[in-house]
């Protein structure tokens, strides 16, 4: 079922790292979700960090894909942390009424990996 969209998925130990550095067309966002789930299955991961510092705009379509991907990963036993959200993006999403409830977030990659470590340690 893997789609092989243009966003690379890296693995560090049992953690997957995805950094979105291009403007998300709908097709790319859809492929991102499928590719991440396939990678979780293939590589036996326990954690996923999604870096969105490259996104200067997140509309509700992309926000929904990101939140859904976290929930889908959770069903597969993987914890997700979203990192690098820009201030303008946070302000815009909250004002629209889309606070991304249920999504774990951290300021940057460093903080995200630390948070993921805590979350996974608590699960054991």
């Amino acid at each position: 079922m893997s789609v092989h969209g243009p966003i690379p998925i890296l693995r560090i130990g049992s953690t997957l790292l995805v950094s979105i550095q291009l403007e998300l067309r709908d097709a790319v966002a859809d492929a991102f979700q499928a590719d991440v789930l396939s990678a979780i299955e293939k590589r036996g991961t326990t954690g996923l960090v999604v870096d969105i510092s490259g996104l200067d705009m997140v509309d509700t379509y992309v926000a929904r894909i990101l939140a859904e991907t976290g929930r889908m990963a959770k069903l597969m036993g993987t914890s997700t942390v979203l990192v690098g959200m820009r201030p303008e993006v946070a302000a815009t999403l909250v004002r629209m009424g889309y606070g991304m409830e249920g999504v774990r977030t951290a300021l940057d990659l460093d903080a995200g990996l630390a948070l993921l470590g805590h979350v996974i340690a608590q699960r054991k």
């Binding site: 067309r25 709908d26 705009m57 509700t60 303008e88 993006v89 302000a91 815009t92 629209m96």
Partner: protein, 137 residues
């Protein structure tokens, strides 16, 4: 009295047109030196409304206007489609309206991101949404 300067019409016929419209809006906001929060707000509202025109109207058109009211610069965008229209406008603007492909936040959310928001819709004939964002500083 609003004066209209340059206008740009962009058809919305597929998902990539959504990106085309919002890129143009972002470019204009940046050239006019809107602050980054206002730029993100109008760009995001544009993305939501262009998607609405495409998903609910089948296709549509965006007309981007560079406007002034005499002392402020602004960007006004008119999104028009000839889709089925909206039966219950208050319900849609309350944000509780959900359809298969959207979160139902497109219209209510973009209303909160802009300074002026007008929605006209005739069931069976189409929908026209006009939004304006004024430069703050």
């Amino acid at each position: 009295m609003i004066q209209v300067g340059a206008t740009h019409q962009i058809p919305i016929e597929n998902a990539d047109d959504i990106i085309r419209v919002r890129r143009r809006v972002r470019d204009i906001a940046e050239v006019k030196k809107f602050d980054s929060f206002a730029t993100a707000a109008i760009t995001t509202a544009t993305s939501e409304l262009a998607r609405n025109a495409l998903v609910h109207g089948g296709k549509g058109i965006a007309c981007i206007e560079e406007v002034t009211d005499g002392y402020r610069l602004g960007i006004r965008i008119v999104f028009e489609d000839h889709g089925p229209g909206i039966d219950d406008i208050p319900r849609v603007l309350a944000g509780g309206y959900t359809t298969a492909r959207s979160m139902g936040l497109g219209l209510s959310g973009s209303k909160r991101l802009v300074d002026d928001f007008e929605l006209e819709s005739t069931p069976g004939a189409g929908t026209k949404v006009t939004v304006t964002k004024w430069k703050r500083f």
